[in-house]
């Protein structure tokens, strides 16, 4: 009983940090201690491992989502040329 309550508390603690753990964004890093605690928890908790896998799959799917078409290469080239011609382009 004591074991399962402790696990539930750790699941709750991990759930609140799992996205920051997976993103590893420089604006909101976890401490090395927090990373070690999450990894230790994921190693033994099937439910939180499943949640982490779903987050990874969701991120992969979103990174390839075709609703955000790639920029037109000719636009990129024109804008590079525009930047290359500064400061002349700035003159009205």
């Amino acid at each position: 009983m004591k074991q399962s309550v402790r696990q539930m508390i750790t699941c709750h603690w991990s759930a609140r940090r799992i996205q920051r753990y997976l993103d590893a964004d420089p604006s909101a890093p976890l401490t090395p201690g927090e990373v070690a605690k999450i990894e230790a928890h994921l190693a033994m908790c099937e439910k939180c491992t499943q949640t982490a896998e779903e987050h990874r799959a969701l991120h992969r799917a979103l990174s390839r989502w075709p609703g955000a078409p790639a920029p037109d290469p000719s636009s990129v080239e024109r804008l590079r040329a525009f930047v290359g011609n500064l400061p002349d382009e700035e003159t009205p």
């Binding site: 964004d25 987050h55 799917a61 390839r64 609703g67 920029p71 804008l79």
Partner: protein, 187 residues
């Protein structure tokens, strides 16, 4: 214009090119989400680049992407005010966006599942999300921006981006479900 002035301007333009050129593609991607139109996106980025060049002396040289995306956001708002009598928020424009299927590169074989059935379900689930949550998800997961860069585009603190991102992702994950997201684990 004397020779000394020309040298200073040339050096300034060189610094600007080095800072900005690597960011042109991401500026265009974000601009396309804002304008939903390739020509308007290019105009928005060009105007933003010009404003950035004029403001270069006030830029501290740190985080050029976040700096440029902030300028894209402000420029977009100004351009909207110029063309619309009742300005709308940047991301109100994203609300009605629908996917342009087939617009991106072909997936690899192992990604066929995710890019087939899932991308359609994902589009539906994204369309159902509150625009604030969808904006955070699109900027970070689709456009691969950092929390700070997304905050610059949205004009909100980093903590707000994190909160909206977390809620948006959790809603998408629950909406799609484990059978769709991780079918291999249920084989």
């Amino acid at each position: 214009m004397n020779e000394g002035h020309n040298d200073v301007e040339s050096a300034r333009a060189l610094v600007f090119r080095e800072q900005v050129e690597p960011e042109i593609e991401v500026m265009l991607r974000v601009a396309m989400s804002l304008t939903r139109n390739r020509a308007d996106a290019e105009d928005l980025v060009q105007e933003s680049l010009l404003r950035a060049y004029r403001a270069l002396d006030r830029f501290d040289g740190r985080h050029p992407r976040a700096w440029l995306l902030t300028i894209v956001r402000h420029t977009n708002l100004n351009m909207q005010r110029r063309t619309r009598p009742d300005p709308v928020g940047d991301w109100d424009l994203v609300r009605d966006s629908r996917p342009a299927f087939g617009a991106s590169t072909q997936p690899s074989a192992e990604d066929a599942h995710l890019d087939g059935v899932l991308s359609e379900q994902l589009s539906t689930a994204l369309a159902e999300l509150d625009v604030r949550f969808r904006t955070a998800v699109i900027l970070v997961d689709v456009h691969d921006l950092s929390y700070a860069e997304a905050a610059a585009v949205m004009g909100v603190p980093v903590g707000t981006v994190m909160s909206r991102l977390s809620r948006g992702r959790d809603r998408l994950r629950r909406r799609l479900g484990p059978q769709t997201l991780t079918p291999g684990r249920f084989a």
